[in-house]
């Protein structure tokens, strides 16, 4: 240990610690300054940025021992001094913080910039923030917030009464994200919590034998316990879909993927850092691993799960019409094959949480997208009643689908339950990448037929999806893709078949779009080839074939309203024409090795579960102090559910947003609002919120004996109702109240009207589809194969934008992930398990975004609203790929289009 005198946030502190410890760990664990986040411990993400002697540094790479006499400033210090107040307001007003995990680092970096440059240009902002990764926002609103910050930004006014829906309300949960006080998965554990660490397979497939665990515990100082499969009280199986639950908490004799858990070590908090997991007593016998779907489907391949012949998890099918008959010589036929790889979610917050046992009640605080699913799974694993377990979701530092599955939950729960002491677990970045789900790698074969006049006649789609070692959401991908594979276009004949195949890769699960981003790359890519073969303008070809109201989708579903796809396409028409002219001019006048290109792609996406029940329940009450209490169980993972539900609640109830307080999400107190997935929260939980609010309004009017159109005005301890000139006042303190102080409560459930699909995939799988189209303008350096994006124009039919700022944030964030999918991301197990070899877009990689919001006013959505979370990323990668093809004249079919891939494609085209 070493004692150093450090000035931290203006106070001189004596810090005694192991001198090699990272400054970030000391700030967080010893000093409680958890506003400094840890995302990688390797200088790759920048989330731990603090000012060291006034200069931004990664606190994860600074040894505490060298700081004697130095000055450290964290977000808490900048907040307390008021230095970043304008910046914080500007971030709020611009919607520059979504999940908030990178926000402290963004603010600290921006503060350092603004100290020496009060009016930075966009390029200067990018240079200053280039070292802080954000996976949610797409960076554009961050840049806007900082370039606007020198001028005190006008605070967004509160929504006028009754007009919260459609207002650019600032996030109701925004402030803690800006001052470092938000509590994420790794932030809230009690100081004395034991620390868990997981022993994982270093092999893609291996048998193992455990050694003398008792001796290991006895010989390791500070080690409290080791747990393995034999310690699971209930079922050593979990999975988000009960019928295919197949993943063990701890492998029993064979590990099926690199990163699979085999044991857990629990140690005293001070001891874990010096524990050497290499010394854990286990012997491995590596087995032949099956890494590709071709190998897995081979008749001689080892079976990864004995009950799944040919390693096939499931198949999906949607068909109508006569596909084979349409693929004849009277039509124009094109075909192609595409492939994509594993994609890592790369949220900046690695999985984290802790559990505390209070007698026979287990409290699990965890970063999760699906608290009720977590509770059911843990009950099964621990052999407890669900009611014995309380899931307390922390703020979620990015989810994008992977935090729907269990990660740390069973480990902290098991250890806390068995040991009776609080237990915490935070995944390291490599562990997060190895152990958790990925986007499915895909191999897709597509054939399209169109009449010589340019009308689509048929699509034949065949997709093989690598679902990895365990099922996770593999069935969902296999079922959703066949419905969406054709895009929002009219097909007289259609056939889409999918197969989800097990390999010894990491489990592939849910990731923004459930397979549709992959299939859209193939479909929209082949559309350009078909349009060219037909001699048609690529946008016009899409317009001619666009799905419209009254026309059947490939599942035979017919919408009479709410299909805004043609409006999306036509809104892009002027941008398309301008961009094409600009590209032609640039290509005529610029250096020959630079080729400009323009790409367009459409999309659609059904909101909510596919042809399955998908209810959300919301409870709203009036408290006896005059506050409206919204029991809001839709986890806000940064997308803005807390704000959106508050806006909907305000207008449906007829009160100001400021009167509403939120409780939850918490499985003990908030009703089940389902999981934050499938772009369902605004639509499904939003509807439940509107229904509950309307029901409460009726009760309150009844209480006051007022007419349905009366204005209600809750105030301190009273409810005032203005009814046609009469003012009635109800003293809330005189009314009987429940445990929460509520004097009136209403609860409502909404479940989308869908129907099951028949054996040909025919039916009404979703009540609401969102539509969109992106236009990508880019420049290819043909000598190096690098792609520079110039601009993305994004048109989306969002039904109704409950909060346009949040909607734009979803779109820009989706675009950034689409850019990664197109140009740089592919997870290779064992090769790039960190955020420097696995690269995601930085602030310099997302170009200008022009947002066009189309409001088609959906008949099912609350106030006409549809989902947008996943929709936004689906057309980006196809638009970019089509733009590259436009620039260099050759289709890249195997993603990502890294510089070597683009260069090779260009050379082939010569």
């Amino acid at each position: 240990m070493m004692t150093t005198q450090i000035t931290i946030n203006g106070s001189s502190l004596e810090v005694t610690a192991n001198p090699a410890r990272r400054l970030s760990d000391v700030l967080r664990d010893d000093l409680g300054l958890t506003g400094t986040k840890v995302g990688c411990d390797a200088g790759d993400c920048g989330a731990c940025t603090v000012l060291l002697d006034d200069e931004p540094v990664n606190a994860c790479m600074v040894p505490i021992g060298r700081l004697n006499g130095h000055t450290v400033t964290t977000i808490e210090g900048l907040d307390a001094s008021g230095e970043v107040q304008t910046l914080q307001q500007s971030f709020l007003a611009h919607g520059a913080a979504q999940c908030g995990i990178c926000t402290p680092a963004m603010l600290v970096s921006a503060a350092a910039l603004l100290r020496r440059n009060t009016e930075p240009t966009e390029a200067e902002v990018q240079d200053a923030l280039g070292g802080v990764l954000c996976r949610c926002t797409g960076y554009r609103k961050i840049v806007a917030a900082i370039t606007a910050a020198p001028v005190p930004f006008p605070v967004i006014p509160a929504a006028p009464s009754g007009k919260a829906v459609g207002h650019r309300a600032t996030r109701v949960d925004g402030l803690p994200k800006l001052n470092g006080r938000d509590i994420f998965g790794a932030d809230g554990a009690p100081a004395d919590a034991l620390v868990a660490s997981i022993v994982r397979s270093p092999h893609h497939r291996a048998q193992f034998e455990l050694g003398d665990l008792e001796a290991y515990v006895d010989n390791s100082s500070g080690l409290v316990a080791v747990f393995t499969a034999v310690d699971i009280p209930g079922n050593n199986r979990f999975g988000v879909i009960p019928a295919t639950a197949d993943q063990p908490v701890f492998a029993e004799s064979e590990a099926r993927f690199r990163g699979e858990a085999v044991a857990m070590i629990v140690a005293e908090p001070g001891a874990i850092a010096s524990l050497d997991l290499e010394a854990f007593p286990i012997t491995w016998e590596p087995l032949n691993a099956v890494m590709s779907t071709e190998e897995a489907l081979d008749a001689d391949a080892p079976r990864i799960h004995l009950d799944r012949p040919h390693n096939v998890l499931t198949r999906g099918l949607v068909q109508r019409g006569d596909v084979d008959g349409s693929l004849n010589e009277t039509n124009v036929i094109v075909e192609g094959e595409w492939s994509t790889g594993f994609i890592e979610h790369a949220y900046i917050e690695p999985e984290a949480g802790h559990a505390v046992r209070v007698t026979d009640h287990l409290e699990v605080s965890v970063s999760t997208q699906s608290p009720h699913l977590d509770r059911r799974a843990l009950a099964e694993i621990l052999d407890l009643e669900p009611e014995a377990i309380q899931i307390l979701p922390t703020s979620v530092g990015g989810g994008f689908g992977s935090k729907l599955d269990l990660s740390v939950q069973p480990y902290v729960a098991l250890a806390a339950w068995k040991l009776g002491r609080p237990v915490r677990l935070t995944y390291s970045r490599p562990e997060s990448m190895r152990a958790t789900t990925k986007r499915h790698p895909s191999q897709m074969k597509v054939r399209l037929a169109a009449s010589p006049s340019g009308k689509l006649e048929a699509m034949d789609f065949e997709g093989t999806f690598n679902t990895g070692a365990y099922a996770s959401w593999g069935p969902t991908v296999a079922n959703r893709v066949p419905i969406h594979a054709g895009g929002p276009y009219i097909y007289p004949s259609y056939r889409a078949r999918t197969t989800a195949v097990h390999t010894n890769g990491p489990p592939a699960g849910a990731f923004r779009g459930f397979g549709v981003p992959q299939s859209t790359i193939a479909q929209e890519g082949l559309f350009d080839e078909l349009a060219d073969a037909l001699g048609m303008d690529r946008l016009e070809f899409r317009m001619v074939n666009a799905l419209t109201e009254g026309q059947p989708t490939p599942t035979g579903q017919v919408f009479q309203t709410g299909v805004g796809f043609r409006d999306c396409l036509s809104s892009l028409r002027p941008h398309w024409e301008r961009a094409r002219v600009e590209a032609a001019e640039a290509n005529a006048n610029g250096p020959p090795f630079l080729k400009r290109g323009v790409g367009i792609a459409g999309m659609w996406y059904g909101c909510g579960n596919t042809a399955l029940p998908n209810p959300s329940t919301v409870r709203i009450g009036l408290r006896n102090d005059g506050r409206v209490v919204l029991f809001q169980g839709a986890v806000d993972i940064g997308q803005g559910a807390d704000t959106v539900m508050t806006q909907i609640c305000a207008d449906s109830l007829g009160v100001d947003m400021a009167m509403i307080v939120r409780i939850g999400p918490d499985t003990d107190t908030t009703p089940d609002a389902g999981k934050t997935s499938a772009s369902r929260q605004t639509y499904v939980t939003g509807n439940a919120t509107a229904l509950a609010a309307a029901s409460l309004r009726a009760k309150l009017l009844d209480l006051a004996g007022a007419a349905a159109d009366a204005h209600i005005d809750p105030g301190a301890d009273r409810l005032v109702v203005h009814d046609r000139g009469n003012k009635r006042t109800v003293d809330l303190r005189t009314l009987p109240a429940d445990d929460f102080g509520l004097v009136a409560v209403a609860e409502a459930t909404y479940d989308p009207p869908t129907t099951p699909l028949n054996e040909n995939g025919q039916g009404d799988p979703y009540a609401v589809f969102g539509f969109g189209a992106h236009l990508a303008e880019l420049c290819v350096d043909t000598e190096l194969g690098t792609v520079r994006l110039v601009r993305i124009t994004a048109a989306h039919d969002v039904g109704r934008a409950i909060n346009p700022t949040l909607v734009e944030g979803q779109i820009e964030g989706g675009i950034a992930q689409g850019i990664g999918l197109a140009l740089m991301e592919e997870y290779l197990p064992g090769r790039n398990e960190n955020l420097h070899d696995y690269t995601i877009p930085t602030i310099g990689d997302v170009p200008e975004v022009i947002n066009i919001l189309i409001e088609s006013n959906d008949p099912h959505g609350p106030y006409g609203a549809k989902g947008i979370g996943e929709h936004s990323m689906i057309p980006t990668a196809p638009a970019i790929m089509n733009g590259i093809r436009d620039a260099i004249g050759v289709t890249i079919r195997d993603l990502p289009a890294t510089p070597d891939t683009v260069r090779a494609a260009f050379l082939r085209s010569l």
């Binding site: 070493m2 090699a20 200088g43 600074v62 021992g65 280039g130 000598e783 510089p899 260069r903």
Partner: protein, 285 residues
Amino acid sequence: MQVGASGSDYVIPASLAEAAEMLTGGPRTILAGGTDFYPALVEKPPTLPVLDLSDISDLRGITAAADHYRVGAMTSWTDLVSADLPLSWRGLQSAASQVGSVQVQNLGTIGGNLCNASPAADGVPPLLSLDASVELVSVRGSRTMRLDQFLIGYRATALAEDELLVAVLVPRPPEGSVSSFLKLGSRSYLAISIVMVAALFAFENGRVSAARIAVGACSPVARRLPDLETALVGRSIDDDLVAMVAAHHLADLSPIDDVRGSGSYRSDAALTLVRRAVADCVRQS
């Protein structure tokens, strides 16, 4: 543990002499900026005892002597970017400004970059083009070694166990030299080089009087291209110097396939970048 006691696990000497003395007690990990040290420890505790150089103030900064510049080993990338230096340093300054991120540039040091000896070390090609040497110190004395002799292989240097790299020595380049640095990465920031090229040119009476071109991330250690340099020196500035760059000039490179790109792509991209770096220098002439 006692701070500074030579037998302890983590020592922070206040002088070079003290540091050299501490290294006589057995091998230590030398901790400079920490930007390579900590990323290597994401899932494991440090193995060797550490010697922290941060308290030796005369290891940081750039000083000019009559015939050379001396860059202290603990000089950060940010120090380099913000220093007022002649055009011949522009390549190195450009490389420094493209290292990782501002946060990394504030911590990472030139000495650490050289001792870590990554094939993709951003400081190496520009320093090779500057004909840099390194100064090594131990209790046995000090020695100076050309950088291309110091870097002996993939993550390997000629540094002895008891030695410290204390400075980089850069001879004053020919009058009027210009330089260039081009980095090819897969994204705008936080990029590890796929290929990088540094060039330094001097021109006299309308002819190339010096040409020093180095390529990084295409061999275990970044390399100069002596055949190309010979081919270019003496040429008229009015010749098409760019067109003289040919694939065979890069024949000694041995790029590998990795997650950032294939070996054949690297060769191809290196040729393009060399041509562009030559063009950039000609433009500045």
